[in-house]
């Protein structure tokens, strides 16, 4: 849902077309005055060149992929984490500030005041926009333009003054930011899996945030292979050995895999059969561009018991913020939800929160899972031909 904090799940591409996006001012537009040429020692003898400005950038090359990430809708926070007070978050190579304006719409701006480089996340939200905490310059959340410079009198700030504003989407309890340049593509940030539409939103929701020392690509592969083991929710999603071969479905946007696993990953005595033979069937779908992962877990009788959505926010070359959200469904949902809470609370007692995720990410490279191979191919195609998901709506291809 765009601009609403409710956790609504039915996500379609059509709904995303009305994203509250804003034109991002080009770099040469947000500069005021006539900056002098830098004067390094080699050029000092020539003297400054007053009035000289940087050459225009008609192709917007400087603005291409400003985050250093593949163009896509990347999760930056839970909806419940974004309030009227601004929050600074890192996404790829850029620091951004997200906040809710007075109309409860989530806005995202580059977290840097163009005046004196103060983080705008240290400012306050006013009716006119986001106000910098140092000198009080106010920026409109939708366009990024500067609307107020205190004490300027009757003059209004030049329309060229502003900060880049990033398109924002709010869906399924997550806040997404578009990282490409230009108009965002109407893609679904959360890839639905088979049976998704049948499941009604649950009120039993548990959320968790973990910062893992691993690349987001490896984490997304680990989550695609065994989300239960990676998140420590094996009892809910199945975390043991695979009993059957995976059913893998590839399309342009991502990859989905249906697996039947032993529920418990217990140590085995020699070559004896595992003590517990209980199995859990889960279907996991991963978006190729962002690694956004969704999982539906079923009982052996085919009843859906949990829906898990995991968002990966790259905050460094080898550091990722993992946000997971579990909805438990059906008769035992309250009990399962309480168990999830206990899992979250007890995790720090048994080691680092991110230990399981990092272990899973480290181990994924040695496997030869067909779903992971498909995900890697899709990702490589995205890097070489940006914008593939919009143009290449191929028929899903099944790989056994």
């Amino acid at each position: 849902m765009i601009g609403h904090p409710e956790d609504g799940y039915p996500a379609t591409a059509g709904m995303l077309a009305s994203v509250a996006h804003a034109a991002m001012p080009a770099p040469d537009q947000v500069r005021g005055g006539t900056p002098e040429r830098p004067t390094p020692a080699s050029e000092a003898a020539d003297g400054p060149s007053p009035g000289r400005t940087r050459p225009a950038d008609p192709d917007g090359v400087a603005d291409r992929e400003p985050f250093g990430l593949v163009a896509g809708w990347w999760p930056v926070a839970f909806s419940s984490e974004v309030y009227a007070s601004p929050r600074g978050v890192r996404l790829g190579g850029r620091q951004i500030v997200v906040y809710r304006d007075e109309g409860r719409v989530v806005r995202a701006l580059t977290d840097r005041c163009p005046h004196r480089r103060m983080p705008l996340s240290m400012g306050t939200v006013t009716s006119a926009g986001l106000r910098c905490g140092y000198h009080g310059w106010v920026f409109d959340g939708a366009s990024g333009r500067c609307t107020v410079i205190p004490d300027l009198g009757p003059e209004t700030p030049s329309g060229r003054i502003g900060v880049p504003a990033h398109p924002v989407s709010e869906e399924g309890g997550f806040v997404f930011v578009w990282t490409g340049s230009g108009t965002p593509q109407p893609l679904t940030p959360v890839l639905p899996v088979a049976g998704w539409e049948r499941v009604q939103p649950s009120r039993q929701v548990v959320r968790g945030v973990v910062e893992a020392r691993a690349a987001h690509t490896e984490l997304s592969e680990a989550l695609l292979v065994n989300p239960g083991a990676a998140l420590g929710l094996g009892w809910l999603l199945g975390g043991g050995d695979e009993m059957l071969g995976p059913e893998v479905v590839l399309d342009a946007a991502g990859v989905a895999a249906r697996r039947c696993r032993l529920t418990w990953s217990l140590p085995r005595l020699g070559t004896y059969d595992p003590v517990s033979k209980r199995t859990t069937v889960s279907t996991t779908a991963t978006t190729a561009a962002t690694g956004m992962t969704t999982t539906l877990a079923e009982t052996p009788a085919g009843r859906t018991v949990a829906r898990v959505v995991v968002g990966l926010t790259p905050v460094g070359a080898y550091r990722t913020t993992v946000r997971w959200r579990v909805e438990t469904l059906g008769l035992g949902s309250r009990l399962a939800s309480a168990s999830c809470c206990l899992t979250v609370a007890g995790r720090p007692l048994t080691g680092r929160m991110a230990h399981r995720l990092e272990t899973a990410a480290d181990g994924v490279g040695s496997g030869c899972d067909p779903a992971v191979q498909g995900l890697r191919e899709l990702r490589a195609a995205l890097v070489t031909t940006p914008g593939l998901p919009a143009s290449a709506a191929k028929d899903p291809k099944e790989v056994r």
Binding site: R31, T34, H135, D151
Partner: protein, 355 residues
């Protein structure tokens, strides 16, 4: 102190007239695009590193641009060396170019401060110590007038902040508002001065009975020695108090600036004179809240970064950046001398009192 021209001062490019800008006439502002605070150490300057009251037999460490400076008294004589006395007893002798291989910096006592020369010792002349009117030359003020504030940023940003008026309304909202003031900015090759004058300002209700007036005139002059970061503030309220303040910004590192401040408060009750200097830490804390993240942004800056935008209220700040950049450019080429208009020791009494 007279304005004689020492022998080491250059005479080329004399600038007899100071550049003066008056805010209402200059509505646009553009500044140096490549302002990189914390990346270049300006040298050949006297730094007021510590209050002489605080220097005894035990050494005190006060770095300048990361260079260690230990100060102590040896039979009452002030010493400044690159190694502490204990290290020297153990046989450790650092000897950099800043001490010409002796291990001891040129040092002087004036205005209640220990002044240390950071640069070529051969160029050290006591005449280059900035002239500070309103502070006694040969003694220190009482202890309650002295303070010691540490900012988590480079000293360029501290100076920039002092010359920046528009942040005060938001960050120090209890202070006088900027709007309506007449602001004049002037500069030499070494200093930037900003004077702010406002007449007939309403007095806060709580103070009206005490001052027996409803309105007051206000004048504040800020003089910044760009090379050394020595900042002088002279504020006067008529009727009301007068603040004469020395606000050094000693560059200990790119992320740390020490300010051994001296307040000289006049026309106040004895109790208020004792307590008012304590408010310095409240103001400094508010400034540091902004300066700390700002400094990281400037230190991490890359060539592709957008240059800062400016408003008409940034005239003084831009003038400071211009003078700073000029100094950096000159020192990069090996010119560490002072030009005739930039003599730090010139008498500035009339300049700052006149505003």
């Amino acid at each position: 102190m007279t304005t004689t021209t020492p022998a080491h001062m250059t005479t080329e490019h004399p600038r007899t007239n100071t550049n003066t800008a008056v805010l209402p006439e200059s509505r646009t502002a553009s500044g140096p695009a490549d302002f990189r605070p914390g990346t270049f150490a300006l040298r050949d300057a006297w730094f007021p590193v510590v209050h002489t009251r605080l220097v005894g037999r035990r050494s005190v460490l006060r770095p300048i641009h990361g260079q260690p400076i230990y100060l102590w008294r040896d039979n009452g004589v002030l010493k400044a060396s690159e190694d502490s006395p204990k290290d020297r007893e153990r046989g450790r002798y650092r000897a950099s170019e800043f001490t010409a291989g002796t291990g001891f910096y040129p040092v002087g006592e004036r205005y209640g401060y220990a002044w240390v020369w950071y640069g070529n010792p051969a160029a050290a002349s006591l005449d280059l110590i900035p002239h500070l009117p309103h502070l006694p030359v040969d003694k220190s003020l009482p202890r309650h007038f002295l303070g010691n504030v540490v900012f988590d940023c480079s000293y360029e940003l501290v100076c920039d902040n002092l010359l920046d008026l528009s942040h005060a309304d938001l960050l120090h909202s209890w202070q006088q508002r900027v709007a309506g003031s007449e602001i004049r900015v002037s500069s030499t090759s070494e200093t930037v001065m900003m004077a702010r004058v406002a007449g007939g300002r309403p007095i806060a209700k709580a103070r009206r009975r005490q001052l027996k007036a409803e309105r007051q005139d206000f004048r504040m002059a800020t003089l910044v020695h760009v090379r050394s970061g020595v900042c002088m503030l002279y504020g006067s309220y008529e009727p009301g108090m007068s603040v004469r303040m020395l606000h050094p910004a000693n560059p200990e590192s790119a992320t740390r600036t020490r300010t051994p401040v001296t307040f000289n408060l006049q026309r106040l009750s004895p109790l208020t004179r004792h307590l008012s200097p304590l408010a310095g830490h409240l103001t400094a804390r508010q400034d540091n809240w902004a300066l700390r993240p700002q400094n990281q942004r400037y230190l991490r800056a890359v060539a592709e970064d957008e240059p800062d935008l400016n408003s008409p209220f940034d005239v003084a700040s831009l003038r400071y950046r211009k003078v700073y950049q000029d100094l950096v450019a000159r020192q990069r080429l090996g010119d560490y001398s002072y030009r005739p208009d930039g003599d730090p020791g010139r008498d500035v009494t009339a300049e700052i009192e006149r505003g």
